[in-house]
């Protein structure tokens, strides 16, 4: 090994250290460590004035240390599972509505001349440049006089409105890649417009539908602002319960436990979607 090569390898190692270490350390401190602290917090007792009870000290048992109580509460009453199911339902419905609304837009953009595509994409993204709360507030003004404010319908409208681009963009990037000659071939073989869509375009767009759905479904699960602002008395979702535990009822361990449960659900969905995606790829 020549000297130059040796220095180069040492230089490479230095470089690797210099570029990886700072972001690594930062994220270790401010992402991974907080996540671990939350895991521990979900096994602790609530503090006297909110927050967390101390782990050690001369407090009586049942007020310090670790406990399974938070999880026991969760499993002792069906309401908690019920709120997760409700959130999953809202997320599924939102995803479905997003899909139905995003499809024509994505298809239109994909079938427009190349020059106008970027502009159309920008037109889809632009409303989302306005603040998230502004977009919810807009619906408050519109739905108020129609007597639809504080209903489940309003919640779904808000959720769809906020998450639509996450469906449009992946769908469009998928549809853009389709080969138009396939449709010509189908037409030549006598397929009508509906069959051309249902038998050719739609199956080929499944990967796009898939990534769009994940990008919509997961954020909706944790949303609290939309049900809070647009929803009525029956529209509490998981996010609201977590928020209320931290900034309402001051029961942090319980909120941490709920956050852990939400994490588990999200990871489960991610794993499932991964498995589906792999199977889909094998079939394709």
């Amino acid at each position: 090994m020549s000297l130059i090569q040796a220095t180069r390898i040492r230089g490479e190692r230095w470089l690797k250290f210099i570029v990886s270490a700072p972001p690594f350390v930062f994220l270790l401190l401010f992402f991974l460590l907080p996540a671990l602290i939350m895991v521990v917090a979900s096994f602790r007792y609530p503090g006297e004035f909110g927050g967390l009870a101390p782990l050690f000290g001369d407090l009586p048992a049942g007020e310090k240390g670790l406990t399974l109580e938070n999880y026991q509460i969760f499993f002792s009453d069906f309401v908690y599972a019920q709120i997760f199911l409700k959130s999953l339902g809202v997320a599924a419905l939102t995803t479905l509505v997003c899909l139905v609304m995003a499809y024509p837009v994505a298809l239109l953009i994909a079938r427009s001349p190349k020059k106008s595509r970027d502009l159309l994409v920008l037109l889809c993204v632009l409303p989302f440049a306005s603040n998230f709360l502004v977009r919810i507030y807009a619906w408050m003004i519109i739905l108020g006089p129609m007597d639809l404010l504080f209903t489940r319908f309003a919640v779904i409208v808000g959720m769809v409105y906020v998450h639509l681009p996450f469906m449009i963009l992946p769908l469009y990037t998928n549809l853009e890649k389709h080969d138009p000659t396939l449709l010509d071939a189908a037409q030549d073989l006598g397929a009508n417009a509906w069959n051309r869509f249902w038998k050719v375009t739609f199956p080929m767009s499944l990967p796009g539908i898939f990534s769009g759905s994940v990008l919509v479904f997961i954020p909706v699960l944790g949303m609290f602002a939309i049900p809070e602002i647009l929803g009525g008395k029956d529209d509490w979702l998981v996010g609201n319960m977590i928020k209320e535990s931290f900034l309402g009822t001051r029961d942090w361990p319980f909120g941490s436990m709920l956050s852990m449960m939400l994490t588990i659900v999200v990871l489960g969905i991610a794993a499932l979607s991964m498995a589906f995606a792999k199977r889909g790829m094998r079939h394709a």
Partner: protein, 270 residues
């Protein structure tokens, strides 16, 4: 190309769905009634009220400061992470940089709240904690944009620099950085926009004494709904619109970043 009238009409309806609410917000910011219910007459009063609201000044200044600092930090760290991810394919870095983007925001907000309070005590929440929180989720976006730029480039440039005897620092300064600069600028702008617009994570990591613009909107919506909110919203829309236009000039492929997020996510979990 195949564009049936049905397709055109339904797409037009969706575009209407996207734009009408925002237009309504803007229109009502000029309404001379305190109740956002019916049109009474034209006025610029709500803007005047807004400009004389001291709380808003503090919020605007906080938002600007947080966004500037978070964008700077995230751009530096995210560029490093992007280069590292492209060049050295580390195992954990992509996982740590990209998971915050894939999880519901509330989880990051809540875990940082517990962390800051347990590590630094009550009263820990401040501008600094918000900056840290914003940096945490912006790093991933910058890293993705930078890495996408790098992976689109010809490796031979870097090899040539090395063969010509450039030290790693020289090759970074003279070759890599000039090439990725558009991505870095785009990442900075994106971080700035994300930070100034963020509500959920700020909500949990800013103490009661650190209002930002989105937090102010939230309080106004929840407590005292007057067209002042519309005026503020209209101004914020103009602002982000401006940022988007700048960003799209600097890096036209920025708007495809969502797809990149998805790819990365799949990769980091695989």
């Amino acid at each position: 190309m195949r564009k049936s009238p049905l397709l055109r009409i339904s797409a037009a309806l969706v575009f209407a769905f996207l734009y009408i609410p925002l237009i309504v917000v803007v229109i009502f910011s000029f309404n001379a009634s305190k109740l956002n219910a019916e049109w009474v007459g034209f006025t610029l009063d709500w803007y005047r009220v807004l400009f004389h609201n001291e709380r808003m000044l503090i919020a605007a200044r906080n938002s600007l400061f947080i966004a500037t600092m978070a964008a700077m930090l995230a751009t530096i760290l995210g560029t490093m992470a992007g280069i590292a991810m492209h060049r050295f394919r580390p195992r954990f870095l992509p996982f740590m940089a990209l998971t915050p983007l894939a999880m519901p925001e509330i989880l990051l907000g809540v875990s940082l709240l517990i962390f800051f309070i347990s590590a630094f005590g009550e009263n820990a929440l401040s501008l600094l904690t918000v900056i840290i929180a914003h940096t945490t989720f912006c790093i991933g976006f910058v890293a993705i944009i930078v890495r996408a730029r790098l992976s689109g480039m010809d490796e031979s440039v870097f090899e040539a620099a090395r063969d010509l005897g450039a030290t790693p620092w020289q090759s970074f300064r003279l070759v890599t950085f000039p090439l990725i600069r558009p991505a870095v600028v785009a990442g900075a702008l994106m971080s700035f926009t994300l930070s100034i617009d963020d509500f959920v994570i700020t909500f949990f990591t800013a103490g009661a004494g650190v209002p930002t613009l989105p937090l102010t909107i939230y309080t106004m919506i929840k407590i005292a709904v007057t067209p002042e909110v519309n005026a503020l919203s209209t101004l914020m829309m103009l602002l982000t619109l401006f940022l988007i236009v700048v960003a799209s000039k600097v890096a036209p492929d920025l708007f495809r970043s969502k797809r990149l997020v998805k790819d990365d996510e799949a990769e980091s979990k695989a």
